[in-house]
Each structure stands twice: as C-alpha cells, then as structure tokens.
C-alpha cells in the first residue's frame, strides 16, 4: 500500500542529476543538497560561478570534478560580477537560453562579496545569485561572518557572537531587483519552485537558501533536515518572496514552536544566556510582524 501510494505520487523533483555521487562535502551537508536541488530545477544549460568556500570543495579538486555542468571558480569577492561577465558574453553570442548561476556562501555574499553583488543588482545584471547560508565561514573552520546569528559560538567568537545577523534580504530588497526569495533545504519542493520562478524571470534574482551545517553548528549529521524545518517553524528563518523589492509573499505560516527547540539541538548556542535568548525571540517576533505588514495582510 505504501509503495503503491509512492508510485501514484507525482513527484515534481526532476530526476536528472547534475552532481556526481561521491562529492567531498561533509556528511549531512546542507549545501550539497541545495546545489543538487537547484541544478535539478535549472537543468543542463547552466553555467555556475563558484568562489572559494564549501561549494568549491564539494565541486571537487582537479583532475576530478563532481559537476556535470560548466563551472568557473572565481575570487572570493567576485562571484556576482564574474557571473555578470559570463552573462555579457552569452548575450553577445546570443545564447539566451543558458542560465548563469552565481553560487556563494554567506561569507562570500554578506561580507566580502557584498560590493560586487550590490553593483550587479543595481545594474540589474541578468544572473541568478544564490547565497547558501550556513551562517559562518565553515570551509575555513567555522569563523564568524555577518550571517552568524547572535548567541552562536564560532572559532572567532569564542564565547558567542554579541550582535545580530545582517539582514541581507532587506539589503537586496532595497535594490528593487525583480525577484528575491528565501528557501531552505528543509522544503525541497518550495526551493525548486523558487529556483524555477527565478529561471523564468530576468534581471538580478537573489535567493537565500538556508543550509544547516552539522560540522559548524555542532549537531548530529542526520538532523540537517530537522534543523532546517525547525528554523522555519520557529520563525527564525521565514520563507518568503519579494518581487521588485516591494511585493512580499509569505510562503509558510509560522507554527507556534518555541525557539528553544531549534536552539537546544545545536552545540553552537551553548553559551547563549536567557537575556540573549529573549533578545533573539523579540527580534524573530518583530521580523515576523514586519513581514506580515509588508504582505499587506495585517
């Protein structure tokens, strides 16, 4: 009966794979999952631009490669603009059906690559920029980035980070680009839907994908999906879309799950005190109310 139900299900995730098995990501890596889903959504005619970071490792070391699509490995802070360069050539060669996918981590996006990303967004360059967000410099050994949440331990915040995570989505929204979305490996259908929507839109498209990291967040690798779902259910990582910087759409109602469920599973929050927890809760609440207001539903 169970098998029968599976067979009848119209599984919307495309079957074709664009990452070979045996890649070099850590067990339970959220980034590898995100790459796999995103490439399934975009298909073969995609050129990817990857800076140093976890994705750079996952894609393999020469002469081996995990990738079935062309990839340009670029300098850390140039992901967006290198993608713009790739697009410029494709435009001159009239290859309009090729997707250009810039794929940077939170360090490459929130921190060192923000200037080039802002430049590309201001010019509305025709690229899809995905930021895979694992909330720290994981590949170099768990150093804090401006995406690291308040209260989290990293190797450069030996106690815990004492300022909140930068709101990159609002920064991108201020550029009034055609399409922005947050997505999560906890919700693959939603993620694929958003990548496909980005594919069918032109101009600068920005997608922030939540990619939990067992290595850096100090949780057991089999909990990655649970961690991703909990982040959305507790409201700390809401899933939403913004069109032209103005039209907001919340994709998932926030359940009443307490933030502690998410926090307590992760070793990185071990030094978070009650005061810090209340501050985060307050911010999550305010952000949620802000998003509701922006959708016009309040």
């Amino acid at each position: 009966m169970h098998m029968d139900r599976l067979a009848r299900m119209k599984f919307p995730i495309p079957k074709e794979e664009f990452i070979h098995p045996g890649h070099t990501g850590c067990p339970g890596c959220g980034v590898a999952l995100a790459m796999r889903y995103a490439l399934k959504a975009l298909g073969k005619k995609t050129i990817m631009v990857i800076p140093p970071g976890c994705a750079g490792v996952i894609s393999g070391t020469f002469p081996f490669s995990a990738m079935k699509i062309p990839v340009l490995k670029v300098a850390f802070e140039t992901t967006a603009i290198c993608a713009s360069g790739v697009r410029a050539t494709l435009e001159m060669m009239e290859k309009k059906d090729v997707n250009v996918l810039a794929w940077g981590g939170d360090g490459a996006t929130f921190d060192i690559g923000l200037q080039a990303l802002s430049g590309a967004a201001e010019r509305n360059d025709d690229i899809i920029y995905v930021c895979y967000d694992n909330e720290a410099y994981m590949n170099t050994g768990i150093q804090r980035s401006s995406a690291t949440p308040q209260g989290a331990w990293t190797t450069t915040t030996p106690d815990s980070k004492n300022v909140p995570k930068k709101d990159i989505v609002q920064i991108m929204a201020a550029h009034k680009i055609p399409y922005i979305a947050t997505a999560s490996v906890g919700y693959p259908m939603d993620l694929i839907k958003k990548i496909k929507k980005a594919k069918d839109t032109s101009g600068t498209r920005f997608i922030l994908i939540f990619t939990p990291c067992p290595t850096g967040w100090r949780y057991s690798p089999e909990l990655t999906i649970r961690m991703a779902k909990l982040a959305t259910e507790t409201g700390i990582f809401p899933l939403y879309e913004i069109e032209n910087g103005e039209r907001y759409c919340l994709n998932r109602a926030r359940s009443k799950r307490p933030l502690e469920e998410y926090i307590s599973l992760q070793g990185r929050f071990r030094n978070l005190d009650e005061q810090g927890l209340q501050q985060i809760k307050e911010r999550v609440k305010n952000n949620w109310e802000y998003l509701i207001r922006m959708t016009g539903e309040a």
């Binding site: 050129i47 490995k73 713009s84």
Partner: protein
C-alpha cells in the same frame, strides 16, 4: 587616416578597431576619457560590445575574467590605484590563461596623493603573469593595443599596454588610424579556445595539487612570449610599414655610455645623446618597450662591450631602488665582462624630466668610476 589625438583617444580608437565583445571599466584619472569614449562608441553602435559600467576596478577585471572565460574578446583600462586594487585578479587572469587586453595609464601610487606619471604602478605588478609593454608615442599606443590582442590570443596570456599619465594620455599628437579592413586582415576573429560551454562542461580554475604543473605551463608560455611578440611586430611592420621591436637601441654601437630607460624619457635621452655625440662622447640610448617577459638576451646583445650603463627609472621599489635597474643588472649577469650599472631615480609623480637632468646624469657618470648606488635626481628644496 591621420588624426591629431591624445593617447587616451588612440586607445579608444584602437579598441573600436580590435572589436572586443565585452568591456568592463571603472573611471580613474588619467584614464577616464578612454572609457568615456568607449561608452559612447558602444552607445552609438560604432562598437558592437557590451559595456559593463562596474562599481570598482576589482570588478572590472572580474567581469573581464568571467566574459573571457566564456569566450569573448574583452578589454579594460585603468591606472595606478585601480591597477593596485585589481592585483589579486591579475593573477587569476593569467592563471586561467585568459587573453585579456588592458590599457594602464601610468600614474603615481598614493600616499601622498599624486595623479601624474610614474611607472611604479605597473612595474610593481611584474610577477602577476601579464605581458607588459611600455609605449613612447600615441601611435605606438594605438599600434600596441592592436598587437596586444594578437599576442594575447596566440599565447593565451593577458597583455597590459602601459603609457604615462598626462605626458601621453592627455597630449595630442598625429596618430595614423589604419582602415578597418587593414586591421581586420592583421587581427582576424580570435581562434577557438577551451571556454565555458554547456555542451562541453568542465570546471575552470579548480583547486589542485598539480598547481606546480600549471605554473610550469605559464612559465613556458612566458618563455615563448618574447618570440611571439617579435613575430607579431614583424608582421605588423609588413602590414603597416611601422614597427617597434622589443627594445629600441639608439646609437648604441660603439657607445661609451648607454642610457637605459622606458617610456617618454627615452626621447629626452636621445636629444641629449645627439648633443654629446657632437661634443665627441658617444652616448647611446636603449628604450625597453617589452618589460614582461624581460628581453634579457636582446638587452645583453646591445649592452655587451659598453663601458658604463645608466638605468633611468621613473619608478622605485623601496629597499631596492629602480625597478628596471634591478632587471638590467640581473640580465647582465649572463655576460662575462663586468659592466658598471649606474642607477637613477627621476621624475616620480610626473616631475618633468629635462635635458639638463639627463646631462647631470652623464656628468656624474663621467666623474665616477663605479656606480654610486641608487641616485635621486630632481629633489626639490
């Protein structure tokens, strides 16, 4: 057709003639008018290229890297601080073996702030794997941009064409711009190379333990570059009745002293050379046009047998002295006889280099048997 134009204008006309498909640039004095003109050419349709007005020089080079990796002929121009900001990506461009052509208008590096001519900006990029030319006239600037594309595409190496800020960039001279058909026959469409292509996927610029092998390939390409530059110049001479060689000796046969320099200072040195020859002292001048790869053998051939060599640098490496002087001294190691090399730092930050200053140098050389070390000419106050 003969035009009275500045070297900046010569660059923009050369770019139109070379027909790159993607141009990314950021304005900086004294380069700005290059990209203003190119933006206009693209806007008017005189040049069918995508012009990306980037938010920094770092992004200008990054955009060129992305575009070139996808197969386009590309161009950018910069100067001084902009070139310094690009530094990281200069290594990327040569490491990925991308035939990018860039014009660099030589300008002093801050601090203190100064926007005038000084070769330290590009000479200090000597280890980035770029072929480097230093020009003396507007015509040479135009012609070298055209040559640069052919050299870059043959070797899969990036080429930097350097010329001095204001002295060349903003000075109007007669420059002959050949007919487009002549340029097209000299510089056809670029040959196919291995680029990002969805039909032939591969990862470009991957992490690898074979790094040393990739560097060896880059070394080999640079070793071959001097011959390619020479051949391209020879072909250019055949097509356009003018050429520049890799180095330009002037009355160096039987010279007792040879002044070695780069860029526009060479012209002043030639005037002084003529004056001294009339007075009975043979002073030769050797202008170095190609700096990377450094044409050691050709330079040794010219300098062999001369009594004294003076290198006149409009640049300076703190703790070492003139940059060209270091290169010349290193090249002369290949010769049996010891030739004293006198080192002069001159004209930094666009200070005028006058014939009197060159005469001062020659007097000093005449009065001393061995080099006095790094000597500064033209200090004020």
């Amino acid at each position: 057709m003969k035009n009275v134009i500045s070297s900046n204008q010569a660059v923009s006309y050369a770019v139109v003639s070379a027909k790159p498909q993607v141009i990314a640039a950021y304005p900086i004095t004294p380069q700005s008018s290059v990209i203003e003109m190119i933006a206009n050419f693209c806007d008017r349709g005189d040049l069918l290229a995508k012009f990306i007005p980037v938010e920094s020089e770092h992004s200008a080079m990054a955009a060129c890297i992305g575009a070139s990796a996808t197969g386009a002929r590309v161009f950018t121009a910069t100067s001084s601080q902009g070139l310094a900001l690009m530094h990281e990506l200069l290594h990327y461009a040569s490491g990925l073996r991308l035939p990018i052509v860039m014009a660099n208008v030589n300008r002093a590096l801050a601090a203190p702030f100064n926007i005038k001519a000084d070769l330290s900006d590009s000479l200090s990029q000597r280890d980035t794997g770029w072929i480097q030319f230093y020009c003396e006239t507007g015509q040479e600037v135009f012609d070298t941009i055209i040559q640069a594309y052919q050299i870059a595409e043959q070797l899969l190496l990036p080429v930097m064409v350097n010329y001095e800020g204001f002295i060349l960039s903003h000075t109007y001279e007669v420059v002959d711009i050949p007919k487009q058909e002549q340029i097209d026959s000299f510089l056809p469409l670029p040959p196919q190379r291995h680029c990002l292509d969805v039909e032939d996927p591969f990862v470009m610029g991957q992490t690898t333990d074979l790094y040393i092998n990739f560097r060896y390939k880059l070394y080999q390409a640079m070793e071959a570059a001097a011959i390619v530059c020479k051949n391209v110049d020879t072909k250019f001479q055949r097509n356009f009745d003018r050429g520049y060689e890799l180095i330009q000796p002037y009355y160096c046969d039987k010279a007792e002293i040879i002044l070695v320099t780069a860029g526009t200072i060479a012209g002043t040195c030639r005037v002084v050379s003529d004056r001294y020859r009339k007075r009975g002292l043979n002073v030769g001048v050797l202008r170095i046009r190609l700096f990377r790869p450094f044409p050691k053998d050709q330079i040794c051939q010219v300098l062999e047998g001369v009594k004294k060599v003076a290198v006149i640098d409009r640049d300076f490496s703190p703790g070492c002295g003139g940059i060209i002087a270091q290169e010349v001294k290193s090249a002369l190691q290949g010769l049996r006889a010891h030739i004293p090399v006198y080192e002069y730092i001159i004209g930094l930050g666009g200070q005028d280099v006058t014939d009197d200053m060159i005469e001062t140098i020659i007097t000093r050389i005449n009065n001393t048997k061995e080099s006095e070390g790094c000597t500064w000419i033209g200090l004020l106050g």
